[in-house]
Amino acid sequence: MSEGELSRAEVDHVARLARLALDDAEAERYRVQMASILAQFAVLNELNLAQIPPSAGVHPLSTVMESDEPRPSLPTAAVLANAPAVEDAQFKVPPVFEE
């Protein structure tokens, strides 16, 4: 774990992964702030965790199964009511590929 050093390239990479179009000033601010936040996490290295299993949750829940039977869903119109753009009862988005 790095001790609070973070490069601009790393910040840009993370912003790309997170789908956040940060401007220059924002990226620089997050570079500094993330470095100081990550430095706080160094405390976790004080512990010997070799034999400790990770916990994703708190209860020993087994996989919850549901019977595979069709049920009514929300009406299409209700689902699309909040959509920024709709075409033929589908969400409309900008093109992914050039024509």
Partner: protein, 478 residues
């Protein structure tokens, strides 16, 4: 009269309703009048649904007149604005969800509707429940009714302030790292985080899914018991919902706490605790002893690692949960001449505020290739150790007693540009979420004229005992 009605605890208001001494319309108008008088300054509400509230109040009065109405019938309340309400906008305090109207109710919303409770509106919060002061709402901060130059705590600052100021007989908040308990402590009301899975998360907009839990903020412990009894229970629509029986939490109150074993975790009184807060909490623990409880100190050695673990795990889960806000299905959508990826990235850049972006960045980093083991897995291992501390403590104790926060409510603006200082506010509450156990905050006096909250923590499923101890303390301090 109207002012007095607005400030009544829920259980007293329910008694008056049942005796037909007041109507639900009276209670609802009293709360709406108080909102008119005070919320211009406090800004607990993002939205007040006046007409729907009065319609619901009239329907509740009909039910009450017919007899056989459930305990919360006719009681005015409000919801944190990350709890879905069909037909009523749900913003999560974010620009990215401005104008979003849920096509379904959260399970808790549906249960309260079925119980005849009267929804007054939706309450302010830190954007997507990420914050400890409610200053990170895109719609402006909420002020603490006890001192309007100070924050109400967060992220359920709207619920805390509304409950304290008589703007609803109770409210629901959500608690991922202390977001119900901290506002309860700062505003001087009761706030409860149930066992993880006790209350359905269906329709609660997700932040940290393994930590999130909905809980009540009320003006008495009995009120919290009444609300919890109504909203708790298994829900097939939440796969993490607990299939455990739900007792009538109100029925068991008043048995006394003679013989209760109370543990006092040393680590919660570490340096950084304000002397006035420590004094108030120690005095409250002495009171528990006077009431017949046995009190002993206990070591919870991994407490000091919980904050770092939490601030890896919660942002990691948030970065995944908030991936859904991409401008496709609802909310803000920034579509210039760019392609799909540009729409995602610009929508999110414009729609999210600074703290949400900060947590998405930290969470994405912690989950990214090369850092996953060093941060995320390590944090989950520490979570195992934190949970182990609680498991061991509850072999010896029925409840643990501690402060809720090292400080009283701080000034608006004091920590808004200091992310780490803000995160430290949660140092005594995140442990409970990491372990999934229930906790309740009950007012225990003041420090410098500002409220202090006693935090009582119980084992998983131990809400009934927790409420009994909190109730006994509350009764003795009246």
């Amino acid at each position: 009269m109207s002012g007095a009605l607005a400030d009544l605890p829920l259980h007293r208001a329910a008694d008056l309703l049942r005796r037909r001494e007041v109507s639900s319309v009276d209670l609802t108008r009293a709360a709406l009048t108080r909102i008119d008088e005070r919320d211009g300054e406090i800004h607990a509400y993002l939205q007040v649904t006046v007409d729907q509230a009065l319609d619901a109040a009239r329907a509740a009065d009909d039910r009450l007149a017919a007899g056989d109405a459930p305990p919360l019938c006719g009681i005015p309340y409000a919801l944190k604005d990350n709890i879905s309400t069909i037909g009523i906008p749900t913003t999560c305090g974010s620009r990215i969800l401005e104008g979003y109207v849920p096509p379904y109710d959260a399970t808790v919303t549906g249960k309260l509707k079925a119980a005849g409770a009267v929804l007054l509106g939706k309450l302010n919060l830190d954007e997507f429940a990420m914050g400890s002061s409610t200053e990170f709402s895109a719609y402006g901060p909420t002020r603490n009714p006890r001192d309007t130059t100070r924050v109400p705590g967060g992220s359920s600052g709207g619920p805390g302030a509304a409950t304290a100021a008589g703007m609803g007989q109770f409210t629901l908040g959500s608690d991922t790292g202390g977001s119900v308990r901290l506002p309860a402590s700062f505003c001087g009301v009761v706030g409860m985080k149930p066992t993880y899975g006790r209350v359905s998360r269906y329709g609660l907009v997700a932040y940290g899914s393994s930590l999130d839990q909905i809980g009540p903020l009320t003006r008495s412990v009995r009120d919290a018991a009444l609300v919890l009894t109504t909203i708790a229970g298994h829900d097939a629509r939440d796969s993490t919902s607990l299939d455990w029986p739900v007792p009538d939490y109100n029925a068991t109150l008043g048995a006394g706490i003679s013989g209760a074993r109370v543990g006092v975790p040393r680590e919660y009184f570490a340096s950084g605790l304000e002397p006035g807060v420590e004094r108030a909490v120690r005095a409250a623990i002495d009171r528990l002893r006077d009431l017949g409880a046995s009190v002993e100190e206990v070591d919870m050695p991994h407490t000091r690692y919980a904050l770092a673990a939490y601030y890896v795990i919660a942002p990691a889960e948030a970065s995944a949960n908030l991936a859904r806000y991409d401008g496709v299905k609802y909310g803000l959508s920034v579509r210039d001449d760019g392609d799909l990826l540009a729409m995602f990235s610009r929508t999110r850049a414009q729609g999210f505020g600074a703290e949400v972006k900060r947590r998405i960045m930290v969470g994405t980093y912690a989950l990214s290739s090369g850092y996953y083991d060093a941060y995320y897995v390590k944090a989950q291992q520490v979570r195992t150790l934190v949970k182990g501390d609680f498991d061991r403590a509850f072999e010896r104790f029925d409840v643990l007693a501690a402060p809720t926060c090292p400080t009283v409510a701080f000034k608006i603006g004091e920590k808004v540009d200091d992310p780490i200082g803000m995160y430290l506010t949660d140092v005594l509450t995140v442990t409970v979420n990491c372990a999934g156990v229930p906790a309740i905050v009950v007012p225990c006096g003041e420090s410098d004229g500002l409220p202090v909250g006693l935090q009582l923590i119980g084992p998983a499923g131990g809400e009934a005992r927790l409420l009994e101890v909190a109730h006994a303390y509350e009764e003795s301090s009246l």
